[in-house]
Structure formats: C-alpha cells, structure tokens
C-alpha cells in the first residue's frame, strides 16, 4: 500500500482533516474519506466533468487532482451549496427548469455553472455553452441546462 499523507483543508466551510493514500485522486478522497458522493467518477480522465468541484475559487476535475494536493485548499462540492440560506439559485433553477434527468452529471454540471456565474453573472448563452464544454450529459441535450444557468444568473442579478 501507498504511503498515507495527512491533509487539512477547508471543505464546504469547515475544517476537515484526513490521512489519504498518496496515489488517490481528490475525487476518491472526497467520496470515500469525506463521504461526499455528489461528485461522480464517470470517466476518471477529465473528459466528462462529472467530478467537478471548486478549489480555491477555480473549477477543476477532481478526478485529475491528487488527493494530497487538497492540503491547505478551500473546496466546495455540490453538498456545500445548500446552506442556511437555502439551496443555491443554480440548484433551484436546475430543479425547476427540467435540467435534471438521470442526474449523474448534475452535481458536476451545477458546480461548473456555479463557477461560471461566480466569474461572470452577466453571462450569455454562448458563453455558458463554451463554459460547460467539459461537462458531458447524455440525457438532456443541454438545452434545459443552459436555460437553468441563464435563469439562475437572472435570479441573482
């Protein structure tokens, strides 16, 4: 077995500590060590976006990030978007606009949408589509997802 490495991070607003095998991805640590199964393993190669989380304000494929590199970082996952203020406007829009079918891509899609809106609340349809290019959905054809992101952007404006 691999060496285990101590990590400490801010995870959805709280300090989290764990000892993780050095060969693990951040995704595996989030799912197995921290029981945050929202982010999904769907390709393991950074090609589908199902594992997207926000690290230090940047969206990343957590399947490509070494778990040891979580040390000292600030991480938001889909579970962290439902706060005392209620669910995130992106989550609400996904629910109401029909952007969810099987839902397997949804947590990654929502985190990427959250990131896009954090960077640019006045976002266009084309910018959303480019921004979601790394997130594969096999169910929806993306139309309702884009609609939901625009709806969330307007709700926040």
């Amino acid at each position: 077995m691999s060496l285990k490495v101590e990590i400490e991070l801010t995870l959805n607003g709280a300090t989290a500590r764990a000892s993780v095998p050095a060969h693990w991805s951040a995704l595996t640590a989030l799912r197995q060590t921290f029981d945050l199964a929202g982010a999904k393993l769907a390709c393991g190669e950074g090609e589908c976006g199902s594992c997207t989380v926000i690290v230090d304000g940047e969206s990343v494929n957590s399947c490509l990030m070494p778990a040891v590199d979580l040390n000292g970082r600030t991480v938001r996952t889909v579970e962290g978007l439902w706060t005392d203020d209620g669910v995130d406007p992106v989550q609400r829009a996904f629910i109401e606009k029909g952007a969810v079918q099987c839902g397997f891509c949804t947590p990654g899609m929502i985190m990427q949408a959250r990131y896009l809106l954090d960077r640019n609340s006045d976002i266009t349809d084309a910018e959303i589509r480019r921004g979601l290019e790394g997130n594969v959905c096999r169910c929806t054809g993306y139309t309702k997802i884009v609609d939901a992101v625009i709806t969330a952007a307007r709700a926040a404006a």
């Binding site: 595996t28 490509l64 990030m65 070494p66 040891v68």
Partner: protein, 296 residues
Amino acid sequence: MSETASQAVPRIEAYYAPTSLEEAVEQIAAGDVAIVAGGTDLMVTANGALRRIKRGLMNIRHVPGLDGIAETGGRIRIGALATMTDILESDLLRAKAPILPATADRFASVQIRNAASVGGNIANASPAADMVIPLLCLDAEVELASWKDGAVSTRTLPITDYFTGPGKSKREAGELITAVEFDAQGAGGHAAFFKTGPRPALEIAIVSMGFMARIDGGTLSDIRIAFGAVAPTPIRAPETEKLLDGQTLDDDLIARALESADTEIKPIDDVRGTAWYRRRLARVYLEEELRNVLEG
C-alpha cells in the same frame, strides 16, 4: 501471462511538497519521483487513482518562483506552473503575444484550463500538445533546473530543438521545467491558431497550426509556421517560412507555400484521422490563413 491485467498497482512510498527550488531539484536528483503540478496529464488514464507512478510523488505547487507571467528586459517569462487560464486571462499576453491566449482558448475544457500548466504541457511531449504550437512560433526557450554540485543549476533549450519524439524530449531525468521565455519583440505581430474539430476545444487536435508574421504593406516577414499532430513532435515549417519571407502574397505564392508545407509534414494514420486527412487539413488551414493575410 495475461496482458490485460498489466496495469501496475500504485505504491507510493514517499511524498514531497518542497517549498523551495533547491529542495525540489535536490529531491528530483535523488531520483524516482513523479512530478505533479496541475495533475491533468499525470492522472490521465487513471481511474480514481494514479497509475503510471513512481516510488515518490512530488507536488511542486508550493515552490516559489514557478508561477506568474511577467516581462523583464524585453523577455516574457511564463512560469511552469502558470495555468492555461492564467495565459488566457493575461493582459500582458493579450497585448504582447496574442497567439498564446488564442491557443489557451482552444485548450480542452474550462476545468482542464484551470489546472493544466504550461510546464506540464511541455513535459508531456505529446505530438498534439496545443500550447507547444504557439511557443514554437515564438521561438521560446525552455528553462530547466537541476541539482549540480550542491546547488541549483539551470540551462535553457530552444523549444524548436526540445522534442525528440512522442513523449520524448531532451529534458534529462534530474531536470525540472521551471519556465518558458521568449522575446517580447516580434511576439505581438499578426498571429493565428487553428485546430480541428467541430467542438471548440475539447478535442485532441487532428491537426493544429500556429502562424505568426509581420505584415508590412503586402509584404511578409518574420514568418513562423508551426504544426501539431502531423509528425512525431510538434514542428516548425522552416522551408515554407523561408519561401514566404520578404515576399508579397499572391495566388501563385500561396500555391507554392501549400506544396512546400505538404513536404515538411510527416503525418500518419491513427484512430483520430488518416494521413490523407491530416495533409488536407494542414493545407486548408495554411491556405485559409494566407488568404486572410492577403485579403487583410
């Protein structure tokens, strides 16, 4: 013996997170470490875990001086840890080397751009590495650091002479890519980046092309043409550059340039495209670009 089950099971016995360049290269010199920055290439082909891994894993993210994009003394320096997003959003590069942000815009997905580093894209030495194309056009130099006689030693290699084959380069085992540098002078002229695919970016190039030139009236000079995925390494097309240098474009010259470029590329058939199609695309891109220039 089964060949399907050849995946090595990862065993990492040491983890290093150096906080100085000295510490990093000294450890690399000691050997058998895999270097991780963005993780995007190291972790690819992984499935929830690292696969192609060495005994030790080194995270160089905390090494100072490896990030940032800055101009000093007429040279633009991009730290090895600079991400594709850093390049895409750099005001300095947009103003002075626009081919770099133009390429970053076509690089994989947002999530990958947020993680993938310039150093990693060079280290991977893929024949289709997008970011290498503009660096070839810019005549960039790759800065390598190593541990020699108890101190950090650096050398630079021109990127045009850096790659030796798919996944192979002149970087030696103990060396760490610390930066790429190029002259700001000449980096700001006419520039364009082309890449195949109906999807804007999330595609490994069947063919990519970078083009830079100074255009004076109708005359071209300081021409740099680079192609990706048409040879064992990303390449420049020096004969075609020479052919065009100091000339004024017309239909005949364009036709000769296309023929010239066709002799300079050595594409192969693979799962993404045939050699025939790669030749066709290289020709289409170069012709499109030359006509763009011709028509202003």
